[in-house]
Each structure stands twice: as structure tokens, then as C-alpha cells.
Amino acid sequence: MQHHHRNRHRQGQETVEENKEKRPKFFINDHVDILVEILKRLDGRSLGVAACVCRLWCTITRNDSLWEDLCFCHLSPPPSRVRSIVVALGGYKRLYMACVRPVRSRLGKVRGASWTRDEAQLSLSLFCVDCYERLGGVEGSNSSTGRLVGESSASSLMFLCKPVNV
């Protein structure tokens, strides 16, 4: 796809016209439904890369449903309530980036390996805790306390991060 895209740019005006005369050119960007189908099947890293290709692709990859499949593709379709909860807590993309990806890599899961319901449930719980931490203080609360909580907040998932070799 990327090659195709680049080719399009490389081709000069004349070649484009020539090709148009020869046969109908297939631009994937004209067929968004196919594009979506393809992107659905990519893994996380590739999706991230795809998001950098062009504006259209960026918009498409922002669509949470792509990431949903990534998170729960190997599980039997979860109840629709999961979707509403995940969306409310920040969306599938966040869930994937913050929890699912580090959890799966920690547990040594290869893409395609079975991803048990327990592990999915655990990721979701950790995600929930993380969201809870990110909730700020309430208006009217003492700012110093709020700040303290805010400073130390959102690091309950720190243990999932790789240690940085300073």
C-alpha cells in the first residue's frame, strides 16, 4: 500500500494521464471500505505506522473499532457493554496502548497466540484503575491535595513499563 502511495507521487503528470488511458488505476484511498478491512487485520505497530501515511489513513486509524478488534480479536464477541465501558474509560486505542500491548508483551504473547479471557479481564481492570487515577480532584477540594494526588497519579501502570537504561 505504501509503495503504491509513493508510486502515485513519483509518477509525473504525463504518466498518470498515460495510465488513465491504458487502464483504470486502482487507488486504495478510493475504496475506504477495503482499506478498513485491511487495516483491521494489522497488528498494533503496523497500525501506528499506517496512521502516519496520510491524512485519510490517519483519520481511519483513529477509529476505535479497529483497535477494538486488536484488543479482543481472539475472544468470543464480548457483550456490547464492554464497548460502552471501554469507550467511556478512554477508548480502545488507549486501552491497547496503555494496557493490552504491554501486558501481552510481558506475558510473551505472540500475535495470533490465544489471549485468554482472564488476561483480557485483567487488562481491563488495570485500565480502569489507570483511568481512575487520572481523574482529577473535584472543584472545591484543596488545591494542594489535588496536586499531590495529581502528581502521583496515573502511574499505577508504571510496573508495565520497560526499565530505561539511564
Binding site: 506475558l107 482472564d118 488476561e119 480502569c128 483511568c131
Partner: protein, 613 residues
Amino acid sequence: MKRGHHHLRPNPDPFTVGNSSLCGGSTTGKAKMWEEEAVQQDCGMDELLAALGYKVKTSDMAEVAQKLEQLEEVMCNVQDDGISQLASETVHYNPSDLSTWLESMLSELNPPPTFDPVVAAGTAAAAAATLDDSFFGPAESSTLTTLDFDNNNKKHKQQILEEASCSDYDLKAIPGKAIYSQKTQTHDSSSSTQNNVKPEKRLKSTSGSHSDIFPPTAVASYGIPAESTRPVLLVDSQENGIRLVHALMACAEAVQQNNLNLAEALVKQIGFLAISQAGAMRKVATYFAEALARRIYRIYPQNPLDHSLSDVLHMHFYETCPYLKFAHFTANQAILEAFEGKKSVHVIDFSMNQGMQWPALMQALALRAGGPPAFRLTGIGPPSHDNLDHLQEVGWKLAQLAETIHVEFEYRGFVANSLADLDASMLDLRPSEVEAVAVNSVFELHKLLARPVAIDKVLSMVKQMKPEIVTIVEQEANHNGPIFLERFTESLHYYSTLFDSLEGSVSSQDKVMSEVYLGKQICNVVACEGMGRLERHETLTQWRNRLGSAGFAPVHLGSNAFKQASTLLALFAGGEGYGVEENNGCLMLGWHNRPLIATSAWKLANKTTPVAH
């Protein structure tokens, strides 16, 4: 020099002879022999040495030998050019007065005796090995040390008194010397624990100021060679680790026997030894030393902590290691299973803190088949000192989250100094047909054991609440025995394991905070007594007995909880040591097979008939 003594040729340059043998190997044996000869001879000049032009009084022989040993050690380790002039073939001072010559040599070599713990700590870190093994297996290595020194002891016991009145310079030189050898240690960059420098030929104390600090015999009874007031080279960390443990135990025993002078001296020694260690052992030893010092000097830590500080510490502890997460997840699983099919649930949390346990439960309730129940939460916490209602803030945050995930939520916070101050009627309980109740306590119940009446009152209050399930998470250790020494030993083992498990964590700031958090517990266990001593941990077996006799029956935590806990532990980096263990329906989290915390679940033993109380 010692070898030279036996192979002496009349050599105009005694220094070269000395030099060649000085750079030789360990000469403990030779020194011993030399001293034997010295003891045998009468007072007056030593004949053999006199023949070579060295005038040494027989009575001074031991002293001279010691100084020569020290000199040898220092010179063997010299790598920089600091004293290279000594290694060359020049005579500096009149060697016929051996004693003064040695003194001047040694004082030249020693930098000013300021004990720089930073340097020592840094170099100690460089020369470290894991002390976990050495701690748990002192028996094997300690026999080695005692063997080496037993013979020396017998000779030296007579000479100790003589040596004790040695010139002051010896004692001042110790810290400086220790530093000096350690600096060269880093140049060596030896990675083994058995360093190039010979292990201390004689064990000496570094507490350094008086020669009458403690009678050597008292310490010798613990299997340590008799300690005189001579300097020690703190270079071999493994042996120091063992000595450190011995010193800690000795100090605790001294405190137990109310021998505070001895304890005081030992505490100082522990401080020095602790610095020579690295990693978990150093931190644990430092905290225990501090706690012992507080106990000896009666400087008790002020209890109540600033609320925000304790919150921060608690949060960091939550993030760094799996203990709290394990507790929360396993308890939540039990509560979730108990609430199956209920339309309206009420959780009473004795350990509210920041409410980190409840988002996960709410999310699990939201996702359960049949939709979420109406969720009511009552949080109980200690009073705060800054006029803020922390409990209420936590409640607001939870309410926000609940709204996000569409769970009907109700919250009430109660402030209480102690759980025993509460009464079931205060809690606005609804009839059990309408609402299912769960009681949750994470690391809170042991605080009630200071007053035996308190725990009974709280347990009967819990029974009055008619809970579906009671989840209790407690430390798996007995820190509540009547005898101080036993408590000390137990807690030393427990917290060493705990600190060890923290070593693998990612962020160093988090780690430090968690260690401070645990350090406060250590302080409480060791230094406080009576009502002040809140950290009265008891083992699972003890809790089982207590709860059984109070009218509760155990509920087995299912395999779901086990699997979830195992998965959680697998996520922790550096966490290969963590393990979940199932113990008669309870789950225990341990580090390298030493269980550290235990989660258990309980229900009322007899639900149908009223419990006679």
C-alpha cells in the same frame, strides 16, 4: 617482613627484603608464629631481630606485628602513585627503631580520619554481591571465619588488654584506613566477593572511641571471634553481611536483657557495618538499626503521620510492587463471586486509603452478566490533620468513575480513630434481603490487636452486619509475640525478604518511597510498645483460629482468583521471584517461596440460626 624474618640474610637494605615479602600472600599464620615466639621470650630486646639490627622489645612484638600487618595490607593494595616512593628502594627512617618507623609509615599513609560514608557506600556498592544467601545461610560461611580466628583468639585474649591501651592513632586511623583500602578497591574493580585484600586478620570494631566499649567475651558467645578495639578493614562484604546479622541479633538480645550500654555500642557498630553492605541488606539493616536506636534512646516516632505524606508513600508502595494489587484483585474476585445474582450490594471498606481497590470491582460488576447492581460503598478511614475530608474526595472520584461506566453508586465516608469506635448501627445498613453486604479489610485488622477487647468488638460488629463475605488480607508473619527478641528476629527475616523483592522494581524513586513506607512499619514493630505498637502482624493460622472461634467459616477463593493473581504477578518486571500459593482456600503471595501476604475470605458460620454471643 614476616617471611623475611625467617629467611633473613644480613642485607644492608632491609626495606627491599621487607618489600618483596610484603607483596606476598596472606601471612596470618606467620604472624601467629611470630607472636608465639614473642610470648615465649622474656622482656628485653628480641634476640633474633637484634641480630639483624632491629631493636624491638619483646613486649612490643605483638604491637609491631600488628602494625606490620596493617602496613602490608595497605601497601599491597596501593595502585596509585601516592606511596610509590615507598615501593622503591629507599630507606626513609631509621629502621633500627622499628616501632616508631612503622608508626610514621602508617601515619603517612593515612589520610585524615574523616569517615566519609558516601565514599564508603559508593565503593561498597561496587564490591557487592547478593547477600540474600549469606543472610539465610550464615552457618556455612561463618564456620569459615571462626576457624580462621579461633587460634588467634586464644593468643590475643591476653594481649587484648595490652592492645586496648594502644596509642590513639590506631583507633583514629581505622576509619581513614578503611576508606583508603576501599578506594583502592574500586581501582581493582574486583567483582568477586572474596576480595584481593586479605580478609581481616583480626576482627576489630570500628566503634572506635574507647577501649572499654564492651567486653569481648559477650560478643564471642555469638560465634564471632573476640572483638578487640582494633581497626577492621571493611572490605569483604559477605563476611560483613554475616557480622551485620550477628550484630543486629546481639543488639536485640541486649535490648531484651535491658543491657542498654551494650546495645548502644552494638547499634553504633551496626551503623558502620550496614554502610559496607549494598542493596537490600544495607537498607534493611539501616532501618532496623534506626528502630533499635529509637528503642534504646526512647525517641519514639511521632505517630500520626502527615496524611498527605502517608498517602504518597502508600501510593508508591501500590505502584512499585504487587502486594497491594494482589490483595485488591484477590479480594475483589471473592467479593464478585459472593455478589453473584444480587441486585443491590454494599461494600464496607475498613481500609479506604485512596480507594484503589474499587474501580476494578466496579468495572467487573459493570461487565457481569445481567448488568451491574446498585453499588454502595462505605469507606472508613483515620482522621486527617489538615481539615480536609480525604474520604469525601476519594468518594467523589469513585462517583465520577462510576458515572462513566454507568454503575449506580452511593458513597459514605466515616472517620474513626480506631475501628473499635464504630458501631454497626452507625452504618445505615439495610435489610439483608434487599442488600448484600461485603466487608473488606486490607492490612487493617492487625492494628486492633493492641487491645484484645478491640478485635472482639470489631468482629462482633462485623457479624451484626450479616455480610455475605468478609475479605481479609494480612501480612503473613508473627510480629506479635510477647518476647521482643522473637519479634525482632521474625521481622528481620520478613522485611529482608520484602526489601529483596523490591530490588527488581523499575523506578528508583518509587522504590525509595516504598522502602520508606516499609521502614515506618519496621520502626513501629521494633521501637514501639503497648498502644503505640500498631503493626502487630499475625500469621494466617492465627487469624484462622481467631476468626473461627469468633463464629466465621472460611470461604475458598476460587481458581479464578488464583489465575488472575498469577497473571498479575507475571506482569511485574524482575518478578520471577513472586509466586502465588494456595493454602486451604486462601491465597498467599510470596517471594521465593517465602509467603509474605495472605488473602482469606470468610462468611458467617451459621447463617440460619442466630449466633449466640
